[in-house]
Amino acid sequence: MTDVFRLLLPEIILAGMALVLMLMGISKSATSRRTAPVLTLVALIAAFIAAYMQTDNLRYSGTMADPFNVVRLHEFGQYIKLLTAAVGVLLVLLAWPSNDDATGNPSLHFGTEAAEFFSLMLLSLSGVLLTASANDMILLFLALELVSLPTYVMVSISRPAAVAQEAGVKYFFLGAMSAAVMLFGFSYIYGMTGTTDLQQIQQRFVPDENGVAAAVDPWLMFGVIVLLVGLAFKIAAFPMHFYAGDVYQGAATPVTAFLAFTPKAAGFVAIIKVLFVAGGGVWVASQTLVSLLSVLAVLTMFVGNVLGLLQYNVKRVLAYSSIAHSGYMLVGLTALIAAAWMPGVNDVRQVQIDALQGVLFYLAAYGVMNAGAFGVLMLLPSRDASISGEAARGSSAETFEDLAGTGRRHPGLGLAMAICCFSLTGLPLTIGFFGKAYLILPALKAKLVGLVILLVINAAISAGYYLRIVATMFLRTEPAVEEGQAPAPRPAVRLPVPVLASIVLSVIGTLVFGIIFPATQALSTRTERAVTVEQTARPAQVSSAVLPGN
């Protein structure tokens, strides 16, 4: 029985600093705007250290919970916290206000609201951490909303262009709708079990001794399915994917990078928790869920990749590619719960561990390479002459036209983009390759050959648009200046150091984990530990835990 404040120390650090930043936002001086991101970084690093300090306790006692069993921390949650804090640093660096008056950077313009912007960023990140430690449906719902609510505001204030506000409103309305769908699922799960404690709900799903999934009330299964559909919004998966293109395009590029990682991480953590509960703690979920997940995975991959091929706007391309990446991770989750069902699977437990480990590894890989790709994109200027004046602030490269020839003008940025795109495609020598490998191998062991073939086909389709980005940067020439016109005043690209640092860190991460195999192994061992402990945290040990009488 650990003190809840000690368990939640990383979250408290982030949320506390967010409140301090909100107060700082009262001051409209440039100094406060310059201090805000520094404090944000400090908070993220402190949260990282605080989460890391829990390692020994977790190894010793396995799982820590508060007396009411609302917060439970195991190594799975700790891994998510470390990952979120680390990727959070990359994302904060991308949003660094590097203007002279610190009102934004080449592709972000929050005006005087810097402190509020970073405060919202921290709140959203602390929501991901809270999702990872929630063991109660109420806390899970609140944590997921804590992730989403700040992002609606961040999209709207990210730049003065009207498209940003349109994107913010679309994102908000669809987000509120999906939250209601999610809540409907929660209400039926509560109704059919009479408790909000996830571990007690899990008891209803424990399979019998032959390993056959428990026969549960159809309304309970209905609740779980509705909940999963609501969560699909967070990870931008079919059938809740349609907002991604518009919202990712309208938001300023650093915010797009934030949206592509943070809500997605929270969504996957929540889905993993729901599947763990619905699998009775041993991932033996009903076949309905297996078929639902596999159908969602296939549709998500195809929708993302096929629509990605058709886009003209690079931010939309990356948006649809992020949908596709959710599809790949859903294949891993399908392998996770299908392993117990498919005939002829040897060592079901090992396959389950590998599958979940693959998903966690992919989440880390995606976070790193995604930050790099958006980082390069935000440093390239826009060539759209129709955007001018106030609305042009915070608008950077968006279309393929804007990218043409930039790789030759800025070889370093071009190289970074090429590496990130190769990694997103899954070419060898990058972290993306191992990410896909760790997803495909367990799926093969779980005898999901059809799904694996579809995944490989999709990876091939995605190569089409990723390579198009790289080819446009290096092979196409810059648009010629028309005769008789003064050469267009090309805004000098001044490269802000924090953004460059973020790109360099992402590229180094992409390569180190891709080329140096011991590093890859170290990361995958870490994910495997996270998964193993999650698996052993079985409800049987907990039934004796103190629960408040009612």
Binding site: V163, A176, V181
Partner: protein, 102 residues
Amino acid sequence: MNELVLQHYLAVGGILFVIGLIGFMTRRNLIVMFLCTELMFQGCALNLIAFGAYHGNLGGQVFTIMVLVIAAAEASLALGLVVLLFRHKHTLDANAWRELKG
């Protein structure tokens, strides 16, 4: 026969939710769309309270209070965003906003 049982409450909750969902899909006024999401939330809240009373524990009511908090936070956000949009285009028609497509 005249007694209210759990199913009646659930039916009302479900109907509220579905009306909200249909309204959200079909109406184009931003305020009405927001009211529809509120309707969906209240349908869920009714479910939670009915289930809570049925099981005789307080989980559902606690959940409902938290849901109300979230709904209030969303209401303040929604009104802020709607005012922002209205200043740009002087209309609340969702169709007036279609610069983003592809």
